[in-house]
Structures are given as structure tokens and as C-alpha cells.
């Protein structure tokens, strides 16, 4: 069960950092940031920082390590937001 508002906010952030050969429509819950969306490690940090601002949360190194797919990111956001 995913929160659609959060999913759309996350997609909007990811979209900014997609390389030219990946379309926004290619983003789905199971997309792997590095292997499928071709996002490099520097841009993955940008996504995390934007996510922190958008949801008013703070991610730690372990969260970054776990954040492989869009679904992983949503789970981390959910747990951080509910722990606030």
C-alpha cells in the first residue's frame, strides 16, 4: 500500500535528476535508482537532500545504503514521517 501523494512528490524529485536517456514515464515503484534509472551516486545524494527538504525528515548513512529502489525510498520516507 503506497501513499500516492508521497509517491508523486518523490517522482517529481527523481525526474529532475534523470539522465537524457531515461524518461519520467520509466519511473515505477520497482525502479532501481542506479541500475535502471541510470542515476549516478552524486545525483542520488541530491535526491536524498531534496527528499529531506520535501518531507522535513533526516536520512542517515544506513538509510542511504538501503535506498536501492523507489519502493525502498518510499518505505524510508514512511517510517521517518511516522516517527516524527
Amino acid at each position: 500500500m503506497i501513499d500516492n501523494n508521497r509517491y508523486e512528490s518523490l517522482r517529481a524529485i527523481i525526474k529532475i535528476y534523470l539522465p537524457e536517456d531515461v524518461k519520467a514515464s520509466d519511473i515505477n515503484e520497482d525502479s532501481h535508482f542506479i541500475n535502471e534509472l541510470n542515476i549516478n551516486s552524486a545525483h542520488l545524494v541530491d535526491i536524498v537532500l531534496d527528499v529531506e527538504d520535501a518531507f522535513d525528515i533526516r536520512l542517515e548513512n544506513e538509510d542511504m545504503d538501503q535506498m536501492q529502489t523507489v519502493k525502498d525510498a518510499l518505505q524510508i520516507i514512511d517510517s521517518k514521517v511516522s516517527a516524527k
Binding site: S41, A42, V45, L49
Partner: protein
């Protein structure tokens, strides 16, 4: 870590070392100088008629002093040794240029940390010439991480 030890940890060698001295460093930024000696190889071709320091080299100088020196300072010294060094990669640079730098000019680079999180260091950098005129300024980011063979 002293400023001298920091210089020894830099992974660059001539002819691609663009740091002579670190004059100030703390967790928020770095200051350092470099003298662009007229013997540097690229002056033979940039330009053929009149030697001027290439913008990419000024950017590199800003990155080495402002970003890499600061990054090495911020990383844990013991960790770097345990991992047998660090890997460095430029991830983005946005620079504006105002004054040319000619052979035998000494420049001062001043950097200010924007953030250092998840191995990514982002800095604002400024370069000044000996007349304290702004040569260039911009924002540079790079990834700094420990070697895998630790």
C-alpha cells in the same frame, strides 16, 4: 592534521598538482595558493600566440584547493589510512570567469562548504589574483569515498 600533512595526502603529482600551500583550513572551508609557473606545459598551446591559463585549469586549481584539500581534512585520518586511500571524482562544476591569469601569476583560492553528506562535498569557491581581484567563482561538487580494499 597539519597543513603540511594534508598536502602530502593529496593524490596529485606534477604536472597536475595545482596546490602550493594551504594557508587556512577548518571544517567550514579552505584557503590556499598556487603559482602558475611559466614553464607549465599547457602554456605552449594555450594560446599559441599568447600564453593564458585555461579556464579548465583554473577550475581544477579551485577544485584541488577548495574541494579536495577540504574533503581530506574532513574525512577521518585513521579511516583513510585503514582503507589505503580515497577515491575522488568531480561530479559537477559551475564557474564564472572575470579576469585572465597569465604565466607567473600567484592565485589565492577560498572555499566555503555548502554541505558534506553521504560522501558528496559541495563547495562555493572563489579565486583571487595578487591584486585581490576576483578571477573566477562558482560551485563545485565531488564524491570522496574510502577505497574498497580496507
Amino acid at each position: 592534521m597539519t597543513k603540511k600533512e594534508l598536502l602530502q595526502k593529496l593524490p596529485y603529482k606534477k604536472p597536475f598538482l595545482f596546490v602550493d600551500e594551504i594557508t587556512a583550513i577548518d571544517e567550514n572551508g579552505a584557503k590556499g595558493t598556487f603559482l602558475f609557473n611559466e614553464d607549465l606545459d599547457f602554456y605552449k598551446g594555450h594560446f599559441a600566440e599568447k600564453a593564458v591559463t585555461p579556464g579548465v585549469i583554473l577550475t581544477e586549481c579551485c577544485a584541488q584547493i577548495g574541494l579536495v584539500c577540504l574533503g581530506i581534512y574532513l574525512l577521518n585520518d585513521a579511516d583513510i589510512i585503514a582503507h589505503g586511500g580515497i577515491q575522488i571524482g568531480l561530479s559537477s562544476s559551475q564557474m564564472d570567469f572575470y579576469e585572465p591569469v597569465f604565466p607567473n601569476e600567484k592565485v589565492l583560492v577560498v572555499s566555503e562548504k555548502v554541505y558534506f553528506r553521504f560522501n558528496k562535498l559541495k563547495c562555493k569557491v572563489k579565486m583571487y589574483n595578487a591584486n585581490e581581484e576576483l578571477v573566477c567563482k562558482g560551485v563545485i561538487s565531488g564524491m570522496l569515498k574510502m577505497n574498497e580494499n580496507g
